[in-house]
């Protein structure tokens, strides 16, 4: 190939390309023929690497898949039962948008109203500050124990570890979390959504590790749930401090809103003397009336039900009824970074219904672990890189952990266009890495790909070269092994051998024939009606001329 064809040289000095001159061939795929640098960045694994081991456990995969299918069905029926789902969804979206659009005022209104009702409001800029605040509040007065209900925010901030360091033992108050703790599983999004405990492992965990559990505990869900319930109830009744999350904070009234199925939040907010609610600043909604639409879409999207079995609200201590010391900790921890992104901010509308998880083809296969955060699935991929930034390899890999199929956006009750956010984050990751001194093979392929596509003659030449090369690699009409990074495709999939004549070559040939027949009048890229049969027609006499695999 001539020097003038070389992307490195040809584009030097053109608008901000700054790409290094290359000495190798300029075809896009040539950059992908190596294995890359082979370097694995230090730190937590990238999504793809973490997913590999998760995919290996086929028993877990099939039970997760069955659970997801069941959840999808339940939620689909729930939405189907709404007379005006789309309208409800638009209203819920508007509530969340209004909240974020004037977040400062809503936060200060919430603070004012909650404090007027006797609640102490605390603020935390990051996770470390939140941990300090919560640990201080929980340990005050020499308290050594607290019960905590399921809360994505509490897990996100890793509150339990900080509480233990402060000398406060944390007890889970939800059944699934209790069993997960007893079997040594970490808290993650699955414990409250897709993953369930099978009866055998739940029985052995409860019978062996739960104080007071009968030794002859039956391995039936009812008996197991009852054993867990009896233990949890004791723990809740004895507790002097409860820690909860919140589904919403109402700016107008200073109310905390919590929705649940088990009643452990209701109990935790009614018995202990001290109640600490930890919530992201994104949880605020403007008005008391907004609870109607929000709870409805949450229940439909989370449970399929018309409402959660229990919805509780409180704004402060009540004499003679429940906690006498009520706290709310408002946490930023990256939320303002998301808020400042015109596209990414919509992810803050999320109401943690987890509907997007169960429709995601990726999450269904990999589970929550590879996302490296309590926020898993599509919304996790859209939210975590915004909360934590995209500097580390794991967070930078999350926006790419999606086929962009759009099923998540279809079900989101607050209209988060998750694929749109992921695309935005992908562009951010790519742009951040454009400044790297050594571009990745992919970046080089993308840049030279664009250069090749920018001129038809370069494209046609590259296409001919690729086709020749592909036919050389093929055996029996199919390519079973591609080299280098391209080989990720052929690890488990074939590719057809490229046909000798591309469509554009065929079109050009046909146009020449037509030009000769029609005296040149139909030349230049226009086919005459009916099409010539001299060239074997346009599709042969039947379908299937293209040599696809199969």
């Amino acid at each position: 190939m001539s020097g003038a064809e070389h992307p490195g040289r040809a584009r030097r000095g053109s608008s901000g390309s700054g790409r290094p001159a290359q000495n190798g061939p300029a075809y896009p795929w040539s950059h992908l023929l190596g294995r890359g640098t082979g370097e694995r960045p230090s730190g937590p694994p990238r999504f793809a690497d973490a997913a590999r081991s998760a995919l290996g456990d086929s028993a877990v995969r099939s039970s997760r898949s069955a659970a997801a299918a069941e959840q999808r069905g339940r939620r689909e029926r729930g939405r189907g039962a709404e007379p005006a789902w789309e309208g409800l969804r638009r209203r819920a979206t508007a509530v969340r948008e209004r909240a974020l659009a004037d977040l400062e005022r809503h936060l200060t209104d919430f603070e004012k109203a909650a404090e007027a009702a006797g609640t102490r409001v605390h603020w935390a800029r990051d996770a470390a500050e939140a941990r300090r605040v919560v640990a201080r509040l929980a340990a005050a007065g020499g308290e050594r124990e607290a019960v905590r209900s399921s809360s994505a925010t509490a897990h996100e901030l890793d509150l339990d570890a900080a509480l233990r360091r402060a000398g406060v033992d944390v007890h889970e108050s939800a059944v699934a979390d209790l069993i997960a703790g007893l079997t040594g599983q970490g808290p993650d999004a699955e414990s409250r959504t897709v993953r369930r405990h099978d009866r055998a492992s739940a029985r052995s965990a409860l019978a062996r590790r739960l104080p007071g559990a009968p030794a002859d505990l039956a391995a039936r869900p009812e008996a197991l749930a009852e054993a867990a319930r009896d233990y949890l109830r004791e723990s809740l009744l004895e507790a002097r401090t409860a820690i909860t999350g919140a589904n919403a904070l109402v700016a107008e009234t200073g109310s905390v809103v919590a929705m649940e199925t088990e009643g452990n939040v209701r109990l935790g907010a009614a018995v202990p003397r001290r109640l600490i609610t930890v919530a992201g600043i994104d949880k605020v909604v403007p008005a008391w009336a907004d609870i109607a639409v929000l709870s409805r879409v949450w229940a439909r999207s989370s449970l399929g039900a018309v409402q959660a079995p229990v919805l509780s609200t409180w704004s402060g201590p009540v004499e003679g009824d429940g906690p006498q010391e009520v706290h709310v900790v408002l946490v930023d921890a990256g939320r303002t970074a998301a808020l400042g992104d015109p596209v990414g901010r919509q992810a803050l509308r999320c109401i943690r219904c987890t509907a997007c998880l169960d429709v995601c083809p990726v999450f269904e296969r990999t589970g929550a672990a590879p996302y490296g955060s309590v926020h898993a699935g599509p919304i996790g991929a859209a939210l975590t890189p915004q909360l934590r930034g995209t500097r580390s390899a794991r967070e930078a890999s999350l926006p790419f952990a999606s086929t962009l199929c759009g099923a998540c956006a279809d079900v989101c009750p607050v209209g988060v266009d998750i694929p749109e956010v992921l695309l935005e984050l992908r562009a951010r990751v790519v742009d951040e890495r454009r400044a790297n001194p050594v571009p990745t093979p992919e970046a080089l392929a993308a840049q030279s790909g664009e250069w090749v596509m920018a001129a038809e003659r370069r494209f046609a030449r590259a296409q001919r070269a690729a086709s020749r090369w592909g036919r050389l690699l093929a055996r029996g009409g199919r390519i079973r092994r591609l080299p280098g990074l391209l080989g990720r495709w052929t690890e488990a999939r074939d590719l057809p051998a490229p046909p000798a004549e591309s469509f554009r070559a065929w079109w050009a040939r046909r146009s020449r024939v037509l030009a000769v027949r029609g005296g040149g009048r139909e030349a230049d890229g226009r086919a005459r009606r009916g099409g010539p049969t001299a060239l074997g027609g346009t599709g042969g006499s039947g379908a299937g001329e293209g040599r696809r695999d199969g």
Binding site: V429, E456, R493, P498, R528, G530, G544, G550
Partner: protein, 243 residues
């Protein structure tokens, strides 16, 4: 009406039969299409991989290449979706991307513009249809491809279980997350097997490459065919000759 034909770079190179079949169907219905030779790529792969600068340049180019057309038809749903839903996002960076003619996926053109569902095809085989994500959710083609298939003589349509689930292709996802991509398509292949169809049909060669690649490796019984190839078929023996 000047109708442009846009052929995805993947189709052009690996599956030219899809594009030839598209031309055949359109011409059989009496439409003259032009194929602006300068066309190369819509920029979808760049866009979905995060290379916006490059995608915007290709989008601008696409707009120029098809400036002389009133309407563009393409047998690639994801490319049509790129132009219709992706270009507006690139228009801030590249204003030309905001000035493209309307791009229709083949089934949309046939049902909405040509107003036909019976294109005179004959294809005596058991066929199942996989609605690709971009055709289903970005373009919302609905049941147009199914209506076209139902009108094909001799064709027996088999319902695909979990049809609306993604095939796991996702552009560079198929490489970056190859293991997950393969796990997803393995289920798709299993569902296709359950239909006992001879042919799995879709409106996007990229998804068909993923499904076909896995069918080939996993020795699934069905073969992949683009909708255009079925609609172009007159049921002749040639349908089998190449497989």
């Amino acid at each position: 009406m000047r109708i442009g034909l846009f052929v995805a770079c993947l189709t052009d190179t690996l599956y030219p039969g899809t594009a030839r079949a598209t031309v055949r169907v359109l011409e059989r219905l009496g439409y003259t299409v032009r194929f602006p030779r300068e066309q190369t790529c819509c920029g979808q792969a760049h866009h979905t991989s995060g290379y916006r600068r490059e995608a915007a340049a290709l989008a601008g180019r696409f707009a120029d290449v098809f400036a002389g057309c009133d309407l563009v038809v393409t047998p690639s749903a994801s490319c049509a979706a790129m132009v219709r839903t992706g270009y507006p996002h690139l228009a801030r960076r590249e204003p030309r991307a905001g000035r493209v003619p309307r791009v229709l996926e083949l089934s949309e053109f046939l049902v909405d513009v040509a107003g036909v569902t019976d294109v005179g095809a004959s294809f005596p085989h058991r066929v199942t249809y996989h609605p690709t994500c971009q055709s289903l959710r970005a373009l919302e083609v609905g049941d147009r491809p199914l209506r076209l298939l139902r009108a094909v003589r001799g064709l027996e349509l088999a319902e695909l279980p979990a049809a609306e689930e993604c095939c796991g292709f996702g552009g560079t996802f198929a490489w970056k997350n190859a293991d997950t991509s393969v796990a997803i398509v393995a289920d798709k292949v299993r569902h296709i097997g359950e239909t006992r169809a001879e042919v799995v049909c879709a409106v996007d060669d990229a998804c068909l490459a993923q499904i076909g690649g896995a069918l080939s490796r996993l020795r699934g019984g069905a073969r992949p065919l683009h909708l255009a190839e079925i609609l172009a078929s007159d049921g002749g023996a040639g349908a089998e000759a190449h497989r």
